[in-house]
């Protein structure tokens, strides 16, 4: 294992301003060769700006970058790449061609392997791709079209591309936000293998538990300033949170002592099945004011359950009762009319990027704000302002375009939209995904608040810790079936480790049954 204390890259007094915004105010720290270096901070702390400076997209207004002791200046991103600095962006759709094969994507560029510089040497490309994938322990067929593989594989293809390009320093920007636990493990084992061979990593993430798992050292940025760098020894999530924001991540949320089993049943599902979606005989009861957590791995069918309840996918069999009355929900509109709201797991599928913030907030209730087709401007602004304040949405103005908001604030807009409709039942699919600690806190607080005021919530999350903290009851869902039901007293005694064990236990049994 290479733990050489030679420094690979050093940032010295990096300053970057955009008009009046001071994105980086003199950041200085160094990353050693062969280390996995975590970079954490709230939205707006300067992480993406630093990444862009590092990869040559921005030039710093002041300060220097030293690579292996020598001062460097990048005029173009290609210069950074030539020096072995590569970044794997959060938004993978910008870097991959779904219509081409895995090997093509690894070799994507102006000079894939050729005969006589004109003819593609597919044989070599497939061979080399197989080699690289093999070294990284990734099971992908280089000849298959990339579009046929699920999203989690895409990241690994990008890392393979970086390896092919002999990257020495790979920056991973929020790599795990769409990965399941297993896929994260695969990513981490790939990273460790590469680390052994001398590759240096910068791991930028909001998921503090993962940062603690994989990183050797962790640097914290706050408001464009460098706060500190810590060696990963005896660090805790609370400590990191506090350093980043001044708030502790999960505490300060007062949990209710109430038990909900005696309350009125607001939603009842009996035998919901859908063969195409893989849902098998889902039955559940939701009480008024209760937060029902759905735990499970990605792909377990939880999103599909919510989508069926919201009318996106008509169920093949089964019944749904809202407040005791049998309902048929074949379209989202019918669900909304029954008082159901749905916070989508992918906000890019919910937001209207061509419209402004107010438009987005009022989207569901716009009919109520209009009379005879004319929008009542007063009601419209009052509603949007109310949520902007209540939820502390940070934006220059309500007329600002959605694209000007950070991820966390965009998520707040999506949630506001559903809160505006005053739902009886709120279906949340990963509502705190891809946002920083501060926003996670705000969102969870909001949802707890709603539940206290009588709204019933079904909460899907891949973060076991989050679920254990926020839910009154938890259903464990694996491969479209409800495997186990945990009540409040059980939840209070459990940790995420226990939930993980339940999953592993289930799979172990399945294998032995075969």
């Amino acid at each position: 294992m290479n733990n050489g204390k030679d420094e690979f890259i050093r940032f010295s007094g990096i300053v970057k301003n955009f008009g009046g915004v001071h994105a980086l105010k003199g950041v200085s720290f160094s990353v050693n060769k062969g280390e996995i270096h975590g970079l954490i901070g709230e939205n707006g702390a300067g992480k993406s700006t630093l990444i862009k400076v590092c990869t040559g997209i921005f030039r710093p207004d002041a300060g220097e970058i030293f690579l292996e002791g020598k001062s460097v200046e990048f005029l173009f991103p290609s210069e950074a790449e030539d020096r072995g600095l590569r970044v794997v962006h959060q938004d993978l759709t910008k870097s991959l061609c779904m219509n081409m094969s895995v090997a093509d994507n690894i070799f994507l560029g102006p000079h894939p392997s050729t005969y006589l510089r004109i003819f593609l040497n597919n044989k070599y490309m497939h061979q080399r791709a197989k080699e690289i994938l093999g070294i990284l322990g990734i099971e992908l067929d280089p000849k298959k079209t990339l579009g046929e593989y699920p999203q989690a594989m895409h990241q690994l293809v990008l890392i393979s591309r970086a390896i092919y390009r002999k990257a020495k320093f790979i920056i991973l920007d929020e790599p795990t936000s769409s990965l399941s636990q297993n896929e994260v493990e695969t990513l981490f084992s790939v990273m460790r293998k590469l680390k052994d061979e001398g590759t240096t990593f910068m791991f930028v993430s909001h998921r503090l538990s993962e940062v603690l798992e994989i990183c050797d050292t962790i640097t914290v940025l706050k408001d464009g300033e460098y706060i500190d760098t810590f060696e990963n020894k005896n660090l805790t999530i609370d400590f990191l949170s506090k350093t980043m924001t001044g708030k502790k991540e999960l505490t300060k949320i007062v949990k209710k002592e109430k038990y909900f089993e005696k309350e009125e049943i607001v939603l009842e599902v009996k035998g919901l099945s859908n063969h195409k979606l893989g849902l098998k005989n889902i039955s559940l009861k939701l009480h008024r004011g209760e937060i029902l957590g759905l735990a499970g791995l990605m792909g377990s069918g939880r999103t599909e359950i919510l989508a069926s309840l919201f009318g996106i996918y008509p169920p093949e069999s089964g019944e749904i009762f809202i407040e005791g009355k049998r309902v048929k929900i074949s379209k989202p509109k019918f669900a909304i009319d029954q008082g159901v709201g749905f916070i989508n797991e992918d906000r890019s599928l919910a937001l209207f990027y061509n419209l402004n913030i107010s438009d987005n907030i009022t989207a569901v209730v716009i009919d109520d704000l209009a009379k005879g087709g004319w929008i009542n401007k007063i009601k419209y602004s009052r509603l949007s302002n109310r949520f902007k304040d209540e939820f502390s949405i940070i934006a220059p103005s309500l007329k600002a375009p959605m694209t000007s908001l950070s991820g966390g604030n965009q998520q707040k807009v999506v949630i506001s939209r559903w809160l505006a409709s005053g739902p009886k039942i709120l279906l949340c699919d990963e509502p705190t995904r891809g946002v920083d600690v501060g926003v996670k806190f705000d969102i969870r607080k909001k949802i707890l608040n709603l539940a206290e005021n009588g709204v019933s919530v079904i909460y899907v999350s891949s973060d076991f810790d989050e679920l254990l903290h926020i839910a009154d009851r938890i259903l464990l869902i694996i491969e479209g079936e409800i495997i186990k039901d945990f009540n409040k007293s059980e939840i209070e005694k459990m940790s995420s480790f226990d939930l993980n064990n339940e999953v592993n236990f289930y799979y172990a049994h399945k294998r032995s049954d075969k």
Binding site: C97, S101, P110, K143
Partner: protein, 335 residues
Amino acid sequence: MPFEENDKVQNGKSTQHLNVIFINIFKKRETGVLLAILIIGLFFSITTPMFLELSNLVSILRQASIIGIMTLSVTFLMISGEFDLSIGSTFANAPVIAVELMIKGGYPMGVAFLIGFLVGPVFGFINGMMVTKTKVPSFIATLGTMMIYRGTALVISGGWPKSPYVTNILTLVLGEGKLFNYIPVPALWFVGITIIMWAILEKTIFGFKIFATGGNLEAAKLSGIKTDNVKITNFVLTGLFSAFAGLVTLCYIGQVAPTMGAGYELEAIASTVIGGTALSGGIGSILGAFLGSFILAEIRNGLVMKMVDPYIHRGVIGAVIIAAAIINIQVVRKK
């Protein structure tokens, strides 16, 4: 092809069982198009026996070849994510200019043809520069040049059809000749060019860059591919092939009219879409475009034989285009 089929891997070696090969060929889009050609042919030959006469088949072959040549270049362009609606106008300009030079200018035929031919890539280059540098969507830009270029053809020719005519080695090789007295020369050009284009698209770096540019423009750019150059080259190709097709037609028909080629752009798009090219870019095949070119020619020929009202022809072609596009989308969805 980016859609490489899955080899069965056993013991680390790759083996393709015979049934797997058959199933894979059967599943391919191009097989479907071939079947469609045969079925449509069957339909027409049953209802009008004259359809199967050799001279008629030759006629279909020739018609398909002329637009087919243009369709091949349109396929490249559409895979890279752009459209060219001006090809019909460019098609007219090449022979119109050549004829004017011969009649008014007294130029020798070879020179006149060469100059007319070069107009194609020039018009294409203009299209390419406009689309890549001004960021105007190609649909709109080439809609404009379609009309501008049609205007140049009308102005240069004075609006009248012209007949310059001479038969010599050049015209025979280009358009008039018949191999073994049956196979029209345009068909030979079509097949030859198809093979070359297929090789370029599937086997060369340029083809790779076309798929990348059309599959994800941003990713292609970020990886260092000069996407503007890819697109400009494809526009130059559509211009070039359209001019060539125009000259071939002049050689075969013996006269030129400034209105010729009108509507060809939509037929070319339709043919390539039938062959499996996606309107959104990134997906397409030369073999598919080759086969697709025959469908429209076959249908039009069949309708004429059945003496269907010519005004209905357009409607039928339109319906075929829509059907093909719907099939394309269903296939993509299934993946």
